[in-house]
């Protein structure tokens, strides 16, 4: 069920048990999966509405994940910041296979602290050192009009 339109952020605090990370909506997937995921979450969800897109912020114990959803209801970008890296197979969804293929095609890059996968259909970048990680991924063809990549943060 889609949420009613709200003009300001809405915070839903749920149970705080440690256990498994909440299931996440996948890149390129449908926004309704965010609603299904939220029911299983053991963290906090905060939704912020902008003119061209919506940001679903999922707050887990040591990691924050953002999912950027277009007005047509499609996840066009994701990002993460915190002490680890989220499950990329889950977060990238159908783009996980292409991500792995592109990373392998780049050949060995031998840097444990930076990764850059850049194709016309998918960009995945990841960086970080002990206790501090950041990464983001987007589908160039799904970005909204007049959108700056700086907004994926």
């Amino acid at each position: 069920m889609m949420p009613t339109m709200l003009t300001r952020s809405v915070v839903y605090s749920l149970l705080m048990a440690a256990a498994a990370a909440p299931a996440l909506a996948a890149l390129g997937g449908d926004v309704t999966s965010v609603e299904a995921d939220r029911a299983r979450m053991k963290g906090a969800l905060q939704t912020t509405y902008s003119a061209n897109y919506t940001v679903h912020e999922i707050q887990m114990p040591k990691l924050v994940v953002h999912e950027y959803v277009s007005l047509s209801g499609q996840v066009f970008a994701v990002s993460w910041r915190g002490e680890g890296v989220p499950d990329l197979q889950q977060v990238l969804g159908t783009y996980y296979g292409p991500f792995r293929q592109a990373a392998a095609a780049n050949g060995p890059h031998y840097n444990h602290h930076q990764l850059s996968v850049n194709t016309s259909d998918l960009v995945v970048v990841s960086s970080g050192h002990i206790h501090g990680y950041f990464g983001r991924a987007w589908v160039p063809g799904l970005l909204p009009q007049a959108f700056s990549l700086a907004e994926i943060n």
Partner: protein, 422 residues
């Protein structure tokens, strides 16, 4: 731009010196504000606390060279025995903590670390996330000796990556591009000497947070039944430096400068301890920058923009930051992610502490990566290699920045913050 006049003569002077005191030409950087780095002296390897480090691409084993990767050779032994193995090409990384060895590079069998601390307990395993993938391995114990300096650490927890003894977990529990072989990892192992005392929780037990935190431990009653578990302080991977008898509060990486075309190979020194020997003093011309307590961040300023999630990282093979510089042409090439400006650009950055005083100049050059690699395809060290950073808030000063400047990494210690200094 730093000047390197006369530096080639330095090693001859240092062979008879006790470290420090050697004179050299001015080496400070200019511009950008902040104290420039002092003149550089490199202490030659030897007892009691100086190990040799080398940058050579590990070309005898890797199918393509690991550019700008510093390595050390160390010895591991079955604890309290003389069953030992000397292993070369262990990557030296100030961006991680813990000693990890690729299983295929290890010829001796190290005892497992178990849940009860006794042979009857269940073996422990670990999944360690890096930014570019993950390493899965068993947790074992070894006595570690640095062969040239003689520094010793007993009963160190070591992650042995990729062996059958590690058991298995689902992809969801240890996700990411696997880096469990020498070829995918780029080294026979890694010695993480970052500014923290262990790889998960310095203050106590490591509670599992799968896909939330980078280090997670598992208990494996059998190889196919590994399950996430809380690791005690005694079971987590320690910072090996903290386990030396004396020089155990930090380290210094001392690498000579590298010219604008690069170098075939580079050798330098890894000095253990800060303010513990005559060769590792924090002299008055060294500026200490305390990092944030949790994530080891410094604040960088570059071109009028602030980068609050910055750090010094010997495990990064370039200087990485978000900028409008031209990225190397797309497609699968060795230069993916690096910058390819039409002509070399000078970057004048400043580093400061988010929690303390001090300000340092951090100047570096960005050359065209394609030109560097094409002009000298056998070179393994470049001081002007730079690239994009996934995090627009971060300047990751990697090994290029270490060439020509002695970089101190100070390990957190109770009330003392982690710090970098030069």
């Amino acid at each position: 731009m730093r000047k390197y006049l006369g530096l080639i003569l330095i090693p001859a002077l240092l062979l008879t010196a006790c470290g420090g005191g050697g004179s050299s030409s001015s080496g400070g950087g200019g511009g950008g504000g902040g104290t420039p780095p002092p003149t550089q002296t490199i202490t030659p390897p030897g007892a009691p606390n100086v190990e040799q480090i080398y940058v050579d691409g590990f070309t005898q084993t890797l199918t393509s060279p690991a550019v700008n990767t510093p390595y050390v050779t160390l010895q591991v032994c079955v604890p309290s025995t003389s069953t030992c193995q000397t292993i070369d090409h262990i990557e030296v990384d100030t961006g991680s903590v813990g000693l990890r060895i690729i299983s295929s590079a290890l010829t001796i069998t190290l005892p497992a670390v178990t849940t009860t601390g006794a042979p009857g307990g269940n073996p422990l395993a670990e999944c360690l996330q890096f930014a570019d993938g993950s390493s899965w391995g068993s947790v074992n114990m070894a006595d570690v000796t640095m062969p040239i300096s003689g520094e010793k650490a007993a009963a160190v927890n070591v992650q042995v990556i990729g062996g059958a003894a590690a058991g298995t977990v689902t992809n969801a529990e240890c996700q990411g591009v696997p880096e469990n072989t020498v070829q995918t990892f780029g080294a026979n192992g890694i010695l993480g000497i970052g500014p923290f005392t262990n790889d998960c929780d310095s203050g106590g037990s490591c509670t599992p947070n799968i896909n939330n935190q980078a280090a997670n431990y598992f208990e494996c009653p059998s190889p196919s039944t590994c399950a996430a578990t809380t690791a005690t302080l005694q079971q987590q991977l320690e910072n090996v430096v903290t386990m030396f008898a004396k020089d155990n509060n930090g380290s210094i990486i001392e690498l000579p400068p590298v010219g604008s075309s690069g170098a075939a190979t580079v050798t330098g020194s890894l000095v253990f301890g800060i303010n513990t020997e005559t060769d590792n003093m924090l002299a008055s011309n060294i500026t200490e920058l305390q990092t944030s307590s949790l994530s080891g961040y410094l604040t960088a300023t570059l071109n009028g923009m602030s980068y609050p999630d910055s750090y010094l990282d010997s495990g990064s093979n370039g200087n990485f930051f978000t900028d409008s510089l031209t990225v190397c042409p797309g497609g699968p090439t060795a230069t993916t992610g690096f910058y390819c400006p039409t002509s070399t650009v000078s970057e004048d950055a400043t580093l400061s502490s988010p929690v303390g005083n001090g300000k340092l100049a951090a100047n570096f050059s960005v050359a065209n990566a394609d030109t560097l690699f094409n002009d000298n395809p056998t070179f393994t060290a470049f001081s002007n290699l730079a690239g994009t950073n996934a995090d627009p808030n971060s300047l990751d000063l990697g090994l290029p920045f270490f060439f020509g400047v002695n970089i101190y990494t100070g390990i957190e210690n109770g009330a003392s913050q982690p710090f970098f200094a030069y």
